[in-house]
């Protein structure tokens, strides 16, 4: 930390002495400006989060990525973040504020930030944006996502093998391609090993609401599901399943190991740290350009949490073989023959789904019950 006593300008209006405000939020601005006076300005990296960093799931892992950036670059970077930013108009305000505060690179970490990110990026052409799980790009907007559906294939396999009631409950958040892909992948691999399996999907219309997620899990369990898959961010469904007993779950976005070995028998872990470090480095080097990154188990963006001993050894071995085949690129979870829900052919025998179709997936595959809400 620099020891100069600097006069800093906040929003171009207030002049403050650094020493006076060292312990307040203003200290961040003071340190940044003081360092600038020393001639090595840290790169300012911003993060917009949809939930709290302590959600134990999605936002938690993005925040781990942020911390990894701080640790890797030390005082060459300064990170800022805002939690619980609603998807919509308020997100635009949060991003604008971050850009005005001098952020050089902003990661917006939820699907619903897509249009706000594009809108704010237009106003700040010199700020780089990285939007997670979306599909709209611009000269200063990259997109990145992980192939969670690869992990869903493994979950589906274990679910199909382990369900006794042949009913699998799925807590879905919003009807967007990422979520639908996960449902299809899980169902496909569950029905491959268990043709009698049925999926009931509950749309919670939220990413984070522990009480509602717990209620949804309870409703599914009361309706006979003995496997719960979730695409929401909190660990509440795990707690509900633990309460009900003899129900298995999978950690979502984060390992959720505190619920192992039962009900949590495995998990999908999002590992954003290497990507975040790589992109921050690119901005520092001046080599940053708009790209679309979509990595899976192979490159390590999707991790499969330890499969616990609650899973029979043979099922565990199969699941691990499936994981390794996907990682090695030998097997694609969406390999034909696969029909759409209405019975029409989607992928003929042996054909593999292309990324374009996957990115915009808006249909169930054959065998799924119910309709996707609009």
């Amino acid at each position: 930390m620099p020891h100069t006593e600097a006069l800093v300008t906040l929003n171009g209006e207030l002049l403050m002495k650094k020493r006076t405000f060292l312990l307040t939020g203003v200290a961040a601005a003071a340190i940044a400006s003081a360092a600038f006076a020393d001639g090595h300005e840290p790169l300012k990296v911003g993060f917009i989060f949809v939930g709290p960093v302590g959600d134990g799931g999605w936002t938690y892992e993005h925040n781990q990525g942020r911390l990894a950036v701080e640790e890797h670059f030390g005082d060459k970077v300064e990170t800022v973040f805002q939690e619980n930013v609603p998807e919509g108009a308020d997100a635009e305000r949060a991003m604008t504020q971050m850009a005005l505060q001098g952020a050089d690179l902003i990661f917006t970490t939820s699907f619903g930030y897509m249009d706000p990110t594009i809108a704010v990026a237009e106003k700040f052409p010199n700020v780089k944006f990285e939007h997670a799980t979306g599909y709209k790009r611009a000269d200063n907007v990259s997109t990145y996502s992980a192939r969670f559906y690869e992990g869903r294939a493994i979950q589906g396999h274990i679910a199909g093998k382990m369900t006794k009631t042949n009913k699998v409950g799925y807590i879905a958040s919003f009807p967007i391609p990422e979520v639908i892909r996960g449902i299809n992948s899980a169902y496909l691999h569950a029905s491959k090993v268990n043709p009698d399996v049925e999926f009931s999907v509950v749309w919670a219309y939220t990413w984070f609401d522990p009480a509602k997620e717990a209620d949804a899990a309870k409703a599914l369990i009361e309706n006979g599901a003995d496997v719960i898959l979730q695409h929401t961010d909190s660990t509440a469904p795990q707690a509900a399943a633990a309460d009900a007993g003899s129900v298995i779950t999978f950690g979502q976005a984060s390992d959720m190991a505190e619920y192992a070995p039962l009900p949590r028998v495995s998990s999908i872990i999002d590992n954003w740290a290497p990507y975040y470090i790589q992109r921050v480095q690119a901005v520092m080097d001046g080599t940053w350009e708009s790209v679309d990154t979509w990595d899976g188990i192979g490159p390590g963006m999707v991790g499969i949490g330890e499969i616990t001993d609650a899973v029979p050894a043979d099922v565990k071995a199969e699941a691990e073989a499936l994981r390794d085949a996907i990682a090695a690129g030998e097997y694609h979870p969406f390999t034909g023959p696969i029909n759409k829900q209405d019975g029409t052919v989607w992928l003929p025998d042996g054909e593999v789904a292309d990324d374009g179709t996957l990115a915009g997936m808006n249909f169930y595959i054959e065998g799924m019950n119910g309709e996707i809400p609009n």
């Binding site: 939690e83 999907v201 509950v202 609401d209 309870k218 599914l220 006979g224």
Partner: protein, 309 residues
């Protein structure tokens, strides 16, 4: 598609799902009856959630946890009480600040409690009543807090309607100047009401973290404090209707999730918005008679009191 919703389980989970907002709403109703608008319900709930959770984990007793939650919620509400009653700050702004403060404070307090399982709150095994077919498992097989919340509703109703204290509280809410002129201590009455509201909100929060979810997660109230505030208006400041409103809202929330889980062919969008839709609808119907609805709101609601003589 079989319609296999079990009505017994449905009513049982309805009661559990409604209890947090029921507790928070009845507390806020008393506060508003005393003429104070405390928008900090969400903040007090979440502080109650972590206080209750932490103490229950440390002592191993959910009962002590609930007690701590009530104390925590009341303590936070006293901050609001001090600011609005003695320093005469704006109630709306102070209430909103209380919510933000509560959310921040709770995540700070909860740092070391993420991922911990709380001691389970035992379900009461009521002899005779619990053995009644259908009704037994539906209504008489819950944990103590469900009945405490119902008892609070009855107690508040009786207190406001039949006791002298209730009359004074209502007088303070209707016209603080008149109450003051009669020699009642307006500030004391209001502070007591605010503390009661805080304690109830704290209990509601702890019910979330100890029974309904049960775990501690940052921001876990996820807006239920605001629902509680809406239910007070919905109930037009009557205890019985608070119960109705909370159970209606909680009931529809649970019902729509159950309908989805059972695969009923109703558009999901409609199901998901139904709790809010029906709340709005009932609000419209209740307030259709403008004069009566307005009459029910405490006349001094949200106005600062300063004894100048």
């Amino acid at each position: 598609m079989d319609l296999s919703i079990n009505p017994i389980l449905l009513v049982a989970s309805l009661m559990v799902a409604s209890t947090p907002i029921l507790l928070a709403a009845i507390g806020e109703m008393v506060v508003e009856k005393a003429g104070v608008l405390n928008l900090g319900v969400e903040g007090m709930m979440i502080v109650g959630a972590i206080c209750g959770f932490a103490i229950a984990v440390e002592t191993g007793s959910p009962a002590i946890g609930f007690l701590a939650a009530a104390i925590g919620g009341a303590a936070l509400s006293m901050l609001f009480g001090f600011l609005t009653q003695y320093l005469l700050t704006n109630q709306v702004a102070t209430g909103l600040a209380l919510t933000l403060f509560g959310l921040g404070l709770s995540s700070l307090m909860g740092q070391s409690y993420v991922g911990i399982k709380p001691p389970s709150t035992p379900k009461l095994d009521i002899p005779l009543l619990g053995d009644i077919p259908v009704l037994g498992p539906m209504i008489f097989s819950h944990d103590l807090m469900v009945y405490v919340s119902l008892a609070i509703i009855v107690a508040v109703w009786a207190f406001l309607k039949y006791t002298r204290g209730g009359l004074i509280l209502r007088a303070v809410g209707e016209s603080h100047d008149a109450a003051h002129a009669l020699g009642y201590n307006v500030i004391f009455v209001r502070l007591s009401a605010i503390a009661f509201g805080g304690a109830c909100a704290g209990l509601g929060g702890a019910y979330l973290s100890l029974v309904r979810v049960p775990q501690w997660t940052e921001g876990m109230t996820a807006g239920s404090g605001w629902i509680a505030l809406a239910i007070v208006v919905f109930a037009s400041w009557r205890a019985g209707r608070v119960l109705l409103g909370a159970y209606l809202f909680g009931g529809i929330t649970v019902l729509q999730l159950n309908l989805q889980a059972a695969g009923v062919a109703i558009p999901v969008e409609l199901l998901s918005m139904s709790p809010y839709l029906i709340t709005i609808l009932v609000l419209v119907i209740i307030s259709s008679d403008r004069n009566r609805a307005a009459l029910n709101a405490p006349a001094s609601l949200g106005r600062a009191f300063h004894a100048s003589h």
